[in-house]
C-alpha cells in the first residue's frame, strides 16, 4: 500500500503554503513515497522507553539581565520590505472581495 497519496501531498502542500503544479505534485508524490519507504526502516527498531533527543548538547537556557539593549531600529527592520508604509509592512487584503 502506498504510504502517501497525491491527495495527501496536496493537503500537506496547502499546510505549507505551497501550490504545486499538477506534474510537480505527481513527481513529488513518487519521490516522497520512495523516501518514506526508506525511512520506514526505523519502524523495525525497538525504541520502547527511549527518551527523545531534540538537542544533542544539553544546555540550560541562559538568562540575561533584564536591561534595555539596542536592537534593530525600525527603519532597518522595514528596509527590506517588498512594500511598506512608514514603519509598517503592507500586505494584500487578508480576505478576498467575494468572501466579505
Amino acid at each position: 500500500m502506498a504510504r502517501i497519496t497525491r491527495e495527501e501531498v496536496e493537503r500537506i502542500a496547502d499546510l505549507a503554503r505551497l501550490t504545486l503544479r499538477p506534474e510537480e505534485a505527481e513527481r513529488m508524490t513518487g519521490e516522497l513515497e520512495t523516501i518514506l519507504e526508506y525511512v520506514a526502516s526505523l519502524e523495525a527498531l525497538d525504541t520502547e522507553g527511549v527518551e527523545p533527543t531534540s538537542h544533542a548538547i544539553p544546555l540550560r537556557t541562559p538568562l540575561r539581565d533584564d536591561r534595555v539593549q539596542p536592537g534593530l531600529d525600525p527603519e532597518q527592520a522595514v528596509a527590506n520590505a517588498p512594500e511598506r508604509d512608514g514603519h509598517a509592512f503592507v500586505v494584500p487584503k487578508v480576505i478576498a472581495e467575494d468572501e466579505t
Binding site: 505551497l18 519521490e31 520512495t34 523516501i35 526505523l42 544533542a56 520590505a81 494584500p92 478576498a96
Partner: protein, 488 residues
C-alpha cells in the same frame, strides 16, 4: 598575478616579512576568482572594490604596527548563508532576491575583526539543502579536479574556492556533512565543530539542532587558527556553548603516540562503499599507526539508521524554519496577489526550488497530526541511540577514523534525478550532527584520479585532538599539498 594562493600560514609569513601586501593578496585572489568563475562558478558574488579597500586598511594597520591577528589582511570567502552587514545574502535561492542584511553573523564578524578580508560569497545548494551544490538557483559549482564532477555540497563553493587556490580559508556550514563531504570531494580540510561551539547568529537557519559553522583550509593548522578565531560563547545564540574558544594551535604537537583511534566496523562494511576509497582510508590508518597511534575496532551499532533519522529530523526543522519566507518582510514577493493567502502561496511556490519544496513537504508531513509519533518522535528516539553509540565508542578511544564519503566526487547530474540516492551520499557524515560531536575531513590520497577524504570524529568539545591527529598526519604525508591540475 592570478596564481593559486598558498596556505594561510605561508601568506602570514610573507605579509610579516613585507614581501607582499594585503592589497596584492586580495587583488590576486579577486583576479583568480574572476578568471576561474566561468568554469568553476564557486561564487555567488565578489566584493571587488570593498575588499580592496579593506585590504588597504589592513596594510595601513600593518604600517602603523597595529596588526590585529595572524589573519589580518588575509583574503577569505564566506558561504552565502552567513550574513554580512549591509550586503546581500541569497542562500542560492530566488526567494531572497534583493535581501540586504541589516546585521552581521558572529563568525563572520569575528573573522573580520581579526582583520580577514572577505573577497566574496560562495555558492551552495539552496538553503544548504543538498550534497552536490547542483541545487543552487544560480547554477552548479564544479569540482576543480574535474569540471564534469560535483564539488560536493552543500558548501561546494567554499570547498572549490579553497581547492582552486582562490583563498586559503573559507567558511562553510555543516548540517549533515555539508563541510566535510565537499572537503573530501575537493581535496581540502574541512571542520565541523561541536554543535554550539561556533555561534549560529547570522547563519540562515536550515535545521537548528544540527547546523554548525566551520572552516575550510588547506591544512589542519590553518583550520585550527580559524576555529580559534570564530569559536566561543555568543550571547546572541541561546545554543552557544558557554566556553571560550579552544586553544587548538597549542595542541598541534605532531605527536599521536599513545592516542587510541577507533575504527567503527559499520563504516567499513556499508553497502555501496567504493573499495578504492576504503583502501586509501586503510593506508591512512597504517600511517597513523606508524606515527604511534593505537588502533581499536569499535562499533556504532545504529549507524544504518542514521540517514533515515536525519532525513526525518532535518526536514521537520526546515519546514518550520522556512515558514518565515512569506513575502512580507524581505525577499521575493509574488506580483498582483489578490489576498494575503494567495500572496504567501505564490511567493513561496515561485521562490523555492524543487529540493527545498521536497524537504518542506516531507517535514510538514512528518510533523502533521497522525504522523508525528510514527515518524518524528521515533527519529528523536533513534537520535538518542545514535548519541549513546558515540558516547560508548568514544569512551574506549580518543578519535574515530572513517571514510568521509562512500565514494569520490560523482558526475554532475548523476544523482540529481534521484533524491534518495543523493541523500545516501551523506551516510558517513550525518551521525556527527545528530550526536553533536565534532568531525573533520582531510585529504588522504586519490581514487580514480579524484581526492579521497579521511574523516576524524571526536568527543564533544574536543576539536583539539581531531586537529592534532590531522596535523600529525599532514606532517608525515603530502596529500594536502596536492593541487588540481591548473585550470587553463
Amino acid at each position: 598575478m592570478a596564481e593559486p594562493l598558498p596556505t594561510l600560514d605561508v601568506l602570514r609569513r610573507e605579509l610579516d616579512a613585507g614581501r607582499v601586501s594585503s592589497l596584492e593578496l586580495v587583488e590576486a585572489a579577486l583576479a583568480r576568482a574572476e578568471r576561474l568563475e566561468p568554469r568553476l562558478h564557486a561564487f555567488v558574488g565578489l566584493r571587488g572594490a570593498a575588499a580592496s579597500a579593506e585590504a588597504a586598511q589592513a596594510d595601513a594597520r600593518r604600517g602603523r604596527g597595529e596588526v590585529r591577528s595572524p589573519l589580518d589582511g588575509i583574503p577569505v570567502a564566506v558561504k552565502d548563508n552567513q550574513v554580512l552587514a549591509g550586503e546581500p545574502t541569497t542562500c542560492a535561492s530566488r526567494i531572497l532576491a534583493g535581501f540586504v542584511s541589516p546585521y552581521e553573523a558572529t563568525a563572520v564578524a569575528r573573522l573580520r575583526a581579526a582583520g580577514a578580508v572577505v573577497i566574496g560569497r560562495t555558492n551552495l545548494d539552496e538553503f544548504a539543502m543538498g550534497s552536490s551544490t547542483e541545487n543552487s538557483a544560480f547554477g552548479a559549482t564544479r569540482n576543480p579536479w574535474d569540471l564534469e564532477r560535483a564539488p560536493g555540497g552543500s558548501s561546494g563553493g567554499s570547498a572549490a574556492a579553497v581547492a582552486a587556490g582562490v583563498v586559503p580559508v573559507a567558511l562553510g556550514s555543516d548540517t549533515g556533512g555539508s563541510i566535510r563531504q565537499p572537503a573530501a570531494f575537493c581535496g581540502v580540510v574541512g571542520l565541523k565543530p561541536t554543535y554550539g561551539r561556533v555561534s549560529r547568529y547570522g547563519l540562515v537557519a536550515f535545521a537548528s539542532s544540527l547546523d554548525q559553522v566551520g572552516p575550510f583550509a588547506r591544512s589542519a593548522a590553518d583550520c585550527a587558527r580559524v576555529l580559534q578565531t570564530i569559536a566561543g560563547h555568543d550571547a546572541r545564540d541561546s545554543t552557544s556553548i558557554p566556553e571560550p574558544a579552544p586553544a587548538c594551535l597549542e595542541a598541534l604537537s605532531g605527536d599521536v603516540s599513545g592516542l587510541v583511534l577507533g575504527l567503527p566496523r559499520e563504516y567499513f562494511v556499508a553497502e555501496g562503499v567504493d573499495p578504492e576509497v576504503l583502501a586509501r582510508v586503510r593506508e591512512a590508518v597504517a600511517e597513523l599507526e606508524r606515527a604511534g597511534a593505537k588502533m581499536r575496532e569499535v562499533s556504532l551499532p545504529h549507524t544504518r539508521h542514521a540517514i533515515a533519522t536525519y532525513y526525518l529530523i532535518a526536514p521537520a526543522e526546515a519546514s518550520s524554519n522556512l515558514a518565515r519566507y512569506d513575502g512580507v518582510r524581505y525577499g521575493h514577493r509574488a506580483a498582483d496577489a489578490a489576498t494575503l493567502g494567495d500572496m504567501y502561496r505564490r511567493t513561496r511556490s515561485e521562490g523555492f526550488g524543487s529540493e527545498v519544496k521536497r524537504r518542506i513537504l516531507l517535514g510538514t508531513y512528518v510533523l502533521s497530526a497522525g504522523y508525528y509519533d510514527a515518524y518524528y518522535r521515533k527519529a528523536l528516539q533513534v537520535r538518542t541511540l545514535l548519541r549513546r553509540d558515540f558516547e560508548r565508542a568514544l569512551a574506549a578511544c580518543d578519535v574515530l577514523v572513517t571514510p568521509t564519503a562512500p565514494e569520490v566526487a560523482f558526475r554532475l547530474g548523476e544523482k540529481s534525478a534521484d533524491p534518495l540516492r543523493m541523500y545516501l551520499s551523506d551516510v558517513y557524515t550525518v551521525s556527527a550532527n545528530l550526536a553533536g560531536v565534532p568531525g573533520l575531513s582531510i585529504p588522504c590520497g586519490f581514487a580514480h584520479g579524484m581526492p579521497v577524504g579521511l574523516q576524524l570524529l571526536g568527543r564533544a568539545l574536543d576539536e583539539a585532538t581531531l586537529l592534532r591527529v590531522a596535523d600529525a598526519y599532514q606532517r608525515r604525508t603530502e596529500w594536502h599539498a596536492r593541487r588540481p591540475p591548473e585550470l587553463a
